[in-house]
């Protein structure tokens, strides 16, 4: 029981919310917000209590201290998203659907947790689908908006396609190795042509989920159309979970063909970072802008994977953690501005600092963290990732990546320029933010500063990553 406590707790609060929803009178549905957030906070805290590790269902489900930490990281991300979306959920058109929102969100989280805890490909696939399908519903949450519905459809089609590709790859792997258990596939995976083909299909399917170039085409449209808080969830928690399981699988199951996949990764990293950055430069809509920037960030995450060491794994986890706080900080500001005023374009932010200094500061620090400017955590995350790749001798790749951080700095500075440097006749009016918005942004700020300067975080992660590679 305790081995699976993360998932069970989440299932429990999902059921509780479902029951509470039934008894809430119509028109008072927004009363569910506070209990939902408190319950999630309880789950988050309980998750940090040390507990037993091991495997269940004959090895289909497994958990280690590392995996528990990954789940905690995902919980943190989901918690902040839940807090940040309160302002949006209180809008009149959403109040009747608040509990659906939480239930769907929690279901995807449960799916992700099963996915990273999986011990065989069947469980992995189940988790993946549970994580994906509710997300499509969430992307189409604002039914009355054409773009949101479009985003939902695009998301379900592209993820169905990618799941299909992934399943096809898994079937080849199963066909050649005769098993689905990670522990047994690993030794049997010797790199015969059919196995390699299976791996390629599997990798392409995962690349869709993490939105790596050239499998990224759905990203910008879905991110733009979906409600902002769903976009932030997609870009942070969902991407983080997929990156975690991909790293684990590459390091364990596919370690015998490491030479091959590291070459593939090399090319994909260069493409992803460069394309993501070049497209981000041209975006005017902040959601699309952040979508492309998050494609580029996914490329940076893989830089740690290609490091192929315990340290590489640690940098991936650490960077995702940093990225959760930085990206949610940026999305938090975009979301409140969009909710209150409807503005989403960079030009609308002209003179933003003079009317909303605090929001502008949060936005600036988050963008600096995404760009990797000290003293915020993004600098440490990027530096460690580069060190992981350099440790493997890939100095040219590191150089390409570092030059790309300068390109990314350029477009992040464009937003900062609009907020701080430009003047506007009609700036965005002063926004009075409520408790939950403040809480969400303060959490992000604390994360952005503390994770970098407090070295314990990275050392803990590094300590737990031991033995994986």
């Amino acid at each position: 029981m305790l081995i699976m406590r993360h998932e069970l707790l989440l299932i429990a609060i999902t059921v509780i919310l479902l029951l509470v929803e039934i008894f809430l009178p119509a028109g008072k549905k927004d009363r569910i917000i506070t209990p939902a957030i408190l319950l999630m906070l309880a789950v988050l805290i309980l998750g940090f209590i040390p507990g037993p590790t091991g495997s269940l269902f004959g090895g289909m489900y497994q958990t280690t201290n590392l995996i528990i930490m990954l789940k905690n990281i995902l919980n943190i991300g989901a918690f902040i998203v839940m807090v940040q979306s309160v302002d949006w959920l209180r809008k009149p058109e959403n109040t009747e659907k608040i509990s659906e929102y939480y239930i769907l969100l929690l279901s995807t989280l449960i799916g992700m947790q099963y996915m990273i805890s999986s011990g065989d490909f069947l469980m992995f696939y189940l988790g993946l689908e549970l994580a994906t399908i509710p997300l499509a519903a969430l992307a189409a949450f604002e039914r009355f908006k054409e773009k949101s519905a479009e985003a939902g459809v695009k998301f379900i089609f592209s993820s169905a396609l990618s799941s299909g590709i992934l399943l096809y790859g898994l079937s080849m792997i199963y066909g050649t190795t005769g098993t689905l258990y990670f522990a047994e596939v690993g030794p049997a995976f010797t790199g015969t042509p059919l196995q390699v083909l299976g791996f390629i299909f599997f990798f392409a399917g995962m690349a869709f989920k993490i939105s790596l170039v050239p499998f990224h085409l759905w990203t910008a449209d879905v991110y733009e159309g979906a409600p902002i808080n769903i976009t932030s969830y997609l870009s942070v928690v969902s991407k983080g979970a997929a990156a975690f399981i991909l790293t684990i699988l590459l390091y364990t199951v596919f370690s015998k063909i490491a030479l091959m996949w590291s070459n593939v990764l090399y090319i994909i990293i260069v493409l992803t970072i460069t394309m993501g950055n070049l497209f981000a430069i041209r975006q005017q809509n902040l959601k699309r802008f952040l979508a492309f920037s998050s494609i580029a960030q996914a490329g940076f995450i893989l830089l740690g994977v290609i490091g192929q060491s315990q340290y590489g794994m640690a940098t991936v986890i650490y960077f995702v953690l940093v990225y959760i706080f930085s990206n949610l900080g940026a999305f938090g500001v975009v979301s409140i501005v969009s909710n209150r005023t409807g503005f989403e374009s960079i030009n609308d932010y002209d003179g933003f600092y003079r009317t909303n200094p605090r929001l502008a500061m949060v936005m600036m620090l988050s963008l600096f963290s995404l760009a990797g400017i000290p003293p915020v955590a993004g600098f440490f995350g990027k530096f460690f990732l580069f060190a992981a790749a350099a440790n493997h001798g890939l100095y040219i790749l590191v150089l390409i990546a570092i030059i790309n951080t300068i390109i990314s700095l350029y477009y992040y500075l464009l937003v900062i320029k609009a907020m701080f440097l430009n003047r506007s006749d009609r700036p965005i009016q002063r926004i009075k933010s409520d408790f939950y918005t403040n809480l969400g942004l303060i959490l992000c700020l604390v994360g952005i500063f503390a994770i970098g300067i407090v070295s314990v975080v990275f050392e803990t992660i590094n300590g737990l990553s031991f033995g994986l590679y």
Partner: protein, 503 residues
């Protein structure tokens, strides 16, 4: 726990103080008090350092503190000073103190202005006391990034363009530095053992030549971008011309010295083998920079551009001297950094004050300012004379030392470079005297200038502090020169070990 930590703590406390200040006056006075403390602290440091040396303490690094930060990567928070960094800290504290007074009349968003300014200064202080390459790089970037806001919000002219150009070029340089530092880190234990970012430890090992050859250009160019290495200097004229007064002062006075210091301290010191091999390429570039900067200054009509090009010339001279790689020239390089730092800060302060009164920076539109603002005009002449290397001022000592040092090489290539670089002194005299003549002497061209007032009290504080610095070094250069020489000993030892003995 060393008291050097205060150099970082005071700026942080000052920014917190500014954050809680209510009125403009409170903001300014908090900044003055904070940076005044910093100045006193720097004075104390110089005194303690000299006293320790006089007492026979010959340790390479004094007042050091070493704390582990990231254990698994062996990143430390390792601070300490030697003679060179003490001198640089002294320079920084003088310039930032004067800079606060020079920006006394900032009215638009003063709180943000002074916060960014002090953050920048804090980054510079952190850079000079760091002995761990990771924190060194961290502070380097902290020093660079506030420039974007400082130029972009409070600048003039094409400020958005200049701010973006400057930030991207400098961060591009820091991208090279980051790669170079990673290279140093992973080659810091060639015989196996714990990798380290510790500058002193790396200086004790011999890094394989192949790695040196690969990483030296990255490190030298990376720092060189900030040190106005030709052809990567193009951010400098635009950036300086668009920046507000205090920012130009700090940037030309201190921030560009980060580049020179980095080249000397990281690139040449840690990779001396490759430095010997590749010095000729960069010597050619820096010689071009010295001469080109001086000629560039002649053609400009905007006071700030004149000074910006002059800075390019003088800062190239710093890199030029570092590449000569002998004790005398290196000593001259450090002296030149200090001397140019104070001198150019004085110039930019004066230009800012003149512009604030005449509302133009074009020399052709001005004239006879000596009659209406004698104090500022005399200060300008003093700065000019120091800049063209008149004995009695700091510029003479520095340039003299550099050229004596570089002429010690008795091969044709070094001598030709030296002679070409020396010619820049003549060109410098041309543009300085020309500006002084047009700007200050002669008739008052514009009748409106008759109503101009001379420097106010805060202007005068700023200028007097800087002039004291210039003349103190010029009249009594020996204490500074001795202090620097002391710090140069280990550097020279390593350089001599690595390469052919140069004369």
């Amino acid at each position: 726990m060393s008291f050097l930590l205060l150099f970082i703590v005071i700026p942080v406390l000052t920014t917190i103080g500014i954050f809680f200040s209510k009125t403009h006056m409170q903001v300014k006075w908090t900044a003055v008090i904070g940076m005044g403390c910093q100045l006193i602290l720097a004075g104390t440091l110089i005194y303690l350092f000299l006293a320790a040396r006089a007492a026979g303490n010959t340790a390479e690094i004094l007042f050091s503190t070493d704390m582990v930060w990231y254990k698994n990567l062996n990143i430390h928070f390792f601070i300490g000073v030697d003679g060179v960094s003490v001198a640089m800290i002294g320079l920084t504290s003088i310039v930032i103190f004067a800079g606060i007074f020079a920006s006394w009349d900032v009215t638009d968003l003063p709180r943000e202005f002074f916060t960014s300014l002090i953050l920048l200064a804090g980054g510079v202080f952190g850079f000079f006391i760091s002995l761990d390459l990771f924190t060194l790089f961290l502070f380097y970037e902290i020093a660079v990034i506030p420039m974007y806001l400082l130029i972009g919000i409070w600048g003039s002219g094409p400020r958005h363009y200049s701010a973006m150009k400057l930030t991207l070029m400098l961060m591009g340089g820091s991208a090279f530095i980051m790669l170079g530092l990673l290279g140093l880190y992973f080659n810091s234990a060639p015989g196996g053992g714990q990798l380290t970012f510790n500058l002193i430890q790396i200086s004790k090992v011999t890094i394989p030549m192949a790695a040196q050859r690969f990483f030296f250009p990255f490190l030298f160019i990376g720092f060189g971008v900030l040190g106005a290495l030709f052809p990567f200097h193009t951010w400098s004229p635009d950036g300086h011309a668009s920046a507000p007064t205090a920012v130009s002062m700090l940037h030309a006075g201190v921030l560009m010295k980060l580049g020179g210091y980095g080249c000397y301290r990281v690139a040449v010191f840690l990779l001396p083998g490759a430095a010997h091999e590749m010095a000729w390429i960069f010597l050619i570039l820096t010689t071009i920079g010295v001469v080109y900067g001086a000629f560039g200054a002649i053609w400009q009509k905007d006071l700030k551009y004149i000074n910006a090009y002059s800075s390019v010339s003088h800062c190239s001279l710093v890199l030029f001297a570092v590449l000569m790689m002998n004790q005398t020239a290196m000593n001259g390089a450090i002296m030149q950094m200090i001397s140019h730092g104070i001198m150019t800060a004085l110039f930019f302060a004066l230009i800012g004050m003149i512009y604030g009164r005449t509302h133009t920076r074009y020399i052709n539109e001005m004239g006879g300012l000596m009659k209406v603002m004698p104090f500022l005009a005399v200060a300008y002449v003093i700065g000019g004379l120091a800049s063209l290397g008149l004995p009695g001022f700091s510029g003479f000592v520095a340039e003299m030392t550099i050229f004596v040092g570089s002429f010690q090489h008795n091969d044709v290539f070094h001598r030709v470079c030296t002679i070409l670089a020396v010619s820049s002194i003549v060109v410098t005299a041309v543009y300085i005297l020309r500006v002084v003549g047009i700007l200050l002497l002669g008739k008052i061209k514009n009748p409106e200038f008759n109503h101009i007032t001379d420097g106010k009290w805060f202007d005068r504080i700023s200028i007097v502090v800087l002039i004291i610095g210039i003349t103190a070094i010029g009249m009594a250069p020996l204490w500074l020169s001795d202090m620097i020489n002391n710090g140069l000993v280990p550097v020279m030892q390593r350089i001599l070990l690595a390469g052919p003995v140069l004369h």
